[in-house]
């Protein structure tokens, strides 16, 4: 849509061609500009303040006037008895989300693709997308009304003669609550990319499969699923890269002193130390470490995806 692929004959031609392309599609680039500025302002400009991780930061003296302290805050991180537990909890929650949550949008997209009634399909799509647009604060209130001590689920358990469960405070139930609530909130929205991928599959492939005697199930398995495999690979890459970023909003909303042994993750701890205990340097150091590891994971996952012949991020 933006233009033909660049002829890579020489850099001069490429630059000139890029500029021509931009001029030709200036209105579309105008649309892209806010997103570009967003990332510059909120993702790249803050890199300047990474130096806080190596300083004794004083807010009103400013970052430049604050004293350098070398690797002091990184040493504190590795001496902190919480560090091991935080990494373990973060990995555990992220892996649980990937193992149980990652396939759900794919399955949902495949199932939805098989629905014939258009109205019903649209209704299901709308209903399943809706929770995505609620903030975690609001959505956690809904979840609390269901799994809280006096929530609908416990009322049902009591009605059936069972003993109510402490979904909110029992450390053993924390991860199931996080995973299930996360799936319910995001599977509809997560399926969009796969539905888009499915819509791009050439119908001739289905016709050919049909002529070869493939039923609905075989078509799904041998045509639809391979058709969206590049998207699955890409999303998995991103999920692996974000393995150290267990959803802050979600975990924070369900975290309490009772379940923090299994629920405290790197991002919630960074918030507590940085914002509530004013240890901006410590939080920045943790964030920097987290970013470095995430980058390594992303590069590795991307390389693996490339090697396996799948679509890669670059």
């Amino acid at each position: 849509m933006i233009g033909k692929p660049l002829p890579m004959a020489n850099k001069q031609t490429a630059r000139s061609s890029l500029w021509k392309r931009i001029v030709r599609n200036k209105w579309v680039y105008m649309l892209f500009l806010p997103a570009f500025l967003y990332f510059v302002i909120f993702a790249f400009v803050p890199f300047y303040w990474i130096q806080i991780a190596f300083k004794d930061f004083k807010i009103f003296l400013g970052v430049n006037a604050s004293e350098w302290v070398g690797l002091k805050h990184f040493k504190t991180i590795f001496a902190d008895p919480m560090t091991g537990r935080l990494i373990f909890n973060t990995l555990r929650i992220s892996l649980a989300n990937i193992v149980f949550g990652f396939p759900v949008p794919i399955i949902f997209a495949l199932l939805l693709n098989e629905v014939v009634g258009r109205r019903y399909k649209r209704l299901v799509q709308t209903v399943s997308y809706f929770p995505h647009f609620l903030s975690w604060v609001v959505y956690a209130g809904v979840v609390f009304a269901i799994v809280g001590p006096k929530g609908a689920l416990n009322s049902l358990i009591s009605l059936l003669g069972g003993k109510p469960a402490s979904f909110i405070t029992d450390p053993g139930l924390f991860i199931p609550v996080i995973v299930v609530s996360g799936i319910l909130k995001g599977f509809g929205w997560g399926a969009i990319i796969y539905l888009a991928g499915i819509s791009g599959i050439d119908p001739i492939l289905y016709e050919a499969a049909c002529i070869d005697g493939a039923g609905r199930w075989k078509q799904m398995w041998h045509v639809t699923l391979p058709g969206i495999r590049p998207f699955i690979g890409l999303n998995l890459c991103m999920a692996v890269a974000g393995i150290l970023n267990a959803s802050f909003d979600q975990v924070f909303m369900f975290l309490n002193n009772s379940n923090k042994t299994v629920g405290e993750v790197i991002s919630t701890y960074v918030y507590k130390m940085g914002m509530l205990s004013n240890k901006y340097e410590y939080s920045t150091a943790v964030g920097l470490l987290q970013g470095v590891v995430s980058t390594l994971l992303l590069v590795s996952a991307n390389a693996l995806s490339k090697r396996l012949g799948e679509k890669s991020l670059w």
């Binding site: 209105w27 579309v28 105008m30 649309l31 500009l33 806010p34 500025l37 967003y38 004083k58 807010i59 009103f60 003296l61 400013g62 902190d80 008895p81 919480m82 537990r85 956690a140 209130g141 609390f144 809280g148 001590p149 006096k150 109510p164 402490s166 909110i168 405070t169 029992d170 909303m253 309490n256 002193n257 009772s258 379940n259 923090k260 042994t261 405290e264 701890y269 507590k272 130390m273 914002m275 509530l276 205990s277 004013n278 240890k279 901006y280």
Partner: protein, 538 residues
């Protein structure tokens, strides 16, 4: 051609819209979105003429609110205040439960409002900002504004002084040390079950057990707010616990230690755990994200008992009367604990937050002029507000109009964000401040009973032995970390679920001591010469 122009125009429009959204998102989130006000009501015109003269004072103001944060700028009360006081306030409010966290985020942005509330130099964060030059020294201003200065005791002023440069930056808000949290209960339910008012913790447990069986749809005892162990603080005194404070060590009276290391507080915590296990405590306590759920349940008639601040009596009685006209709210007298300790109230340091003034502001002196006037000439307006809207004059006396009968613009949620400090002596002026409130709500006959209850709670005081301005460098450095890694989880295991044991609690307490807690205790004891029992409120 036309279609191409249409597409271009649409693209441009969408780009402009996105920019506008970004700009709006990055804008200043001031409550109500501005300071322009509506026209004043007729009743205030007369008062406005007698108000503060001089130049218009405009300032930005950041403060916490205890009431729901539903303030809308531009209301009639705001206009009446602005006209009367000749001020214009650009106010930003934050719910009190979130204040300490959010205000630090605001400060971390590097731009301070002219006047802001803070917890003060007892918190190393604020003391550090004083040293960085973020705030204006107020020593000279205090000398020229005697009513502002005399609203705080000399002892407290000395404690506010920055030890590094000897200056005062913080204007503390004096409060009464006695802030008892009464145990309110449904006397009509107790009477119906022939339960006399409990006098001991054991009797309370037995009474709640009976209530649990008699009223299965209701919760025997509930409470709202986060940190609910604090809301039970005065029941904790029946165990000898000084919740959230420091006390003299049982082994060495010349050493003070955190109360969470004492057997008394441990007993109190495990009593709360027993209450939860036995179904006597609302299972949503400490878990429900709605901080007001406990009070709401009591006012809705679905809870039998509820510990709350002493002023709550008026509100809950009035609300419950509407829900259930036969309901009767009573106040449980302080209970005797299992070891024979007579309960009372956990008193507070006589300062609760205060104000800092940005060093970048050029209106601090004018604000002090305003505050001096606010504490003196504006006393009537400060205490009673706008005639006809917030009070009526009956037989020569000002009688407050009940909250429920006021227009929205004059309800507490609209007034609190625009309030400043009052006089300390007015807070416990029972006849002048509290009795009219009882009269206004049709509870005049309950006033003496409430007053006697207040006095009964204050007979036994359990103060915090730690001077709030004594700081421990170790605590400032790693206090939050070692708390998170040890005792915070123990608190959760004991208070939120019923699995925590005394052995586990002890293990976490020992871990806290070994990870730096003992250093904190040593530093505090070295820094605080006077370890005698404080006499706040006596």
């Amino acid at each position: 051609m036309k279609r191409s122009v249409f597409k271009k125009a649409t693209c441009l429009l969408m780009a402009v819209l996105m920019f506008a959204c970004m700009a709006a998102g990055c804008g200043n989130a001031v409550a109500g979105g501005g300071t322009e006000a509506n026209e004043a009501s007729g009743e205030t015109a007369g008062e406005a003429a007698e108000g503060r003269g001089g130049d218009l004072l405009s300032f930005t103001y950041l403060r916490p609110v205890w009431q729901p944060a539903t303030f809308v700028s531009g209301g009639a009360y705001e206009q009446a205040l602005f006209d009367y006081a000749n001020i214009e306030v650009d106010v930003q409010i934050i719910p009190v439960m979130e204040y300490d966290a959010k205000v630090k985020t605001v400060v971390a942005g590097g731009t301070l409002p002219d006047v802001m509330w803070a917890s003060g130099p007892a918190d190393p964060f604020w003391r550090d900002l004083e040293n960085q030059g973020a705030f204006t020294s107020i020593d000279e201003l205090l000398e020229s504004h005697p009513n502002v200065k005399n609203n705080v005791s000399e002892t407290v002023w000395n404690q506010m002084r920055n030890p590094d440069d000897g200056k005062i930056y913080f204007l503390p808000r004096s409060i009464a040390s006695d802030v008892p949290f009464f145990t309110f209960y449904r006397k009509d339910w107790f009477d119906a079950q022939n339960i006399p008012e409990p006098t001991t913790i054991d009797e309370l447990n037995a009474a709640l057990e009976t209530i649990k069986n008699a009223y299965p749809e209701a919760v025997p005892m509930t409470v709202g707010m986060g940190g609910f162990e604090w809301m039970f603080k005065d029941l904790g005194t029946s165990f000898g616990a000084t919740v959230g404070g420091w006390v003299a060590s049982a082994d060495d009276p010349d050493t003070i230690i955190p109360a969470f290391l004492t057997e008394e507080q441990e007993n109190y915590f495990f009593w709360l755990q027993d209450m939860r296990r036995d179904g006597l405590l609302d299972p949503e306590v400490g878990i429900n994200p709605d901080v007001n759920h406990g009070k709401q349940k009591f006012m809705a008639g679905t809870a039998a008992a509820y510990p709350g601040g002493y002023p709550d009596f008026i509100e809950i009685s009035a609300a419950l009367a509407k829900t259930d006209p036969t309901a009767e709210v009573a106040i449980m007298a302080p209970l005797t604990g299992p070891t024979g300790v007579q309960g009372g109230t956990r008193t507070s340091y006589p300062v609760d937050r205060g104000m800092y003034f940005s060093s970048a502001s050029d209106v601090t002196a004018e604000f002090f002029d305003f505050l001096e006037w606010w504490l003196t000439d504006a006393t009537d307006f400060r205490r009673y507000g706008v005639e006809g809207e917030m009070y009526n004059v009956v037989e020569g006396k000002k009688v407050a109009i009940p909250e429920a009968d006021r227009k929205d613009d004059y309800k507490t949620t609209q007034i609190e964000p625009l309030s400043f400090f009052g006089r300390i002596e007015e807070e416990l002026d029972f006849e002048g401040t509290w009795k009219p409130a009882f009269v206004a709500n049709g509870l005049e006959e309950k006033f003496e009973y409430w007053y006697d209850s207040f006095m009964a709670y204050c007979e036994n005081r359990f103060p915090d032995y730690l001077s709030p301005t004594v700081l421990s460098p170790t605590s400032a450095e790693i206090g939050a970390q070692i708390w998170e890694s040890t005792l915070s989880t123990a608190y959760g295991a004991v208070l939120l679920n019923v699995n925590g044991t005394r052995e586990q609690y002890q293990e976490q307490a020992d871990a806290w001591l070994s990870q730096g807690g003992q250093d904190i205790i040593n530093e505090i004891n070295a820094a605080q010469a006077d370890k005698s029992k404080p006499t706040y409120g006596e």
